[in-house]
Symmetry: C2
């Protein structure tokens, strides 16, 4: 093993991810990556390859975590309908956090690089298809639990929810105040996931 690494790989990847997340791909320079990681150029290149490779690696681990958390959250909720409603709260969390509103790294990357980098586009497509499948499973459970009309299409509902969520994320990025954002999320949730038992 010779000389051991002086850095924690996960820590470095998290720092790099945050940098790309805050500033985007093009606006992040190698100097930025060196600063946030605390590594020299040589170490960075030896460990992760060039800027694009590092970015793709960070992007992949980001979506892996995202899908993992989504799977957990949807599976663990006692009531599936509540889990679906929670999906629309994610943008609110982004707006209330301390730092800048940075939305979703995958969405930002798709906007910035989707037309220029087929790998990124493909990754985006796969990620959102996977999300749709997870959400659709949860919607089907909500149907079984009697909280959603049985005749609804779970996949269609999943796509509608995902679209609403991404739209909210974007509105958060425009600087919409948290109260209005929250009200809009509630409004969308009420219309896309109405209380079925009461009606």
């Amino acid at each position: 093993m010779a000389r051991p690494r002086a850095f924690d790989e996960k820590q470095v990847l998290n720092a790099v991810r945050d940098q790309f997340w805050d500033a985007g791909y093009a606006a992040t320079s190698l100097a930025d990556l060196m600063r946030v990681s605390g590594l020299g150029k040589g170490s960075l290149y030896a460990a992760f390859g060039d800027k694009r490779q590092l970015f793709l690696r960070v992007l992949t681990s980001y979506t892996d975590e995202l899908l993992g958390h989504l799977r957990e959250a949807l599976a663990e909720a006692p009531r599936a309908l509540d889990a679906l409603r929670t999906l629309l709260d994610a943008p609110i969390d982004d707006s209330t956090g301390a730092g800048p509103r940075r939305g979703c790294l995958m969405a930002n990357s798709t906007c910035e690089l989707g037309n220029a980098d087929p790998d990124v586009l493909d990754h985006a497509h796969r990620t959102y298809e996977a999300s749709t499948a997870l959400i659709a499973d949860c919607a089907a459970r909500a149907q079984r639990e009697g909280d959603l009309p049985a005749e609804a299409d779970p996949i269609a509902l999943a796509r509608a929810l995902l679209a609403a969520q991404q739209g909210l994320v974007f509105m958060s990025r425009t600087g919409l105040d948290t109260a209005t954002l929250t009200a809009t999320a509630r409004s969308l949730a009420a219309q896309l996931l109405p209380d079925h038992t009461g009606g």
Copy 2:
């Protein structure tokens, strides 16, 4: 007036806008702008200032046009409800066009530059507030025409529609096939703008 300009300003601005729209701000170089405009560096700088000024000018004229078209479309529709439903078709048009799916220039710019450039963020905020107001007016008309429940809040509905639209635009950018995108748009329209008279 001395020597007259050899280019049409509007034509140049449109070409530049398309370039920024396709590639984004950072990924567009001055060489790109020279190529698509047919102008030399000197002419570009003399006529429009530096890259950022040119970009902001293009962005402003883009949103001016956008709001103008929106105002027209919403006002001219015989039935307000139909105009509101048409809002969700815009992302479909983007997906069926010949070129790459490039979404909305204002949205792309907000994602890329919103955190770094307060001017862009402010412009985005104002633009979407203006859009919301226009859509809310149309929703109010739909209420007067008996196509929307009178107790609904037009502004809240406008924000929900705008969020849904932006979400659909984003899903189009991930490469979602047109049929699925269309189905999702129809699904969202059905839930956000249900047929009130029939139900």
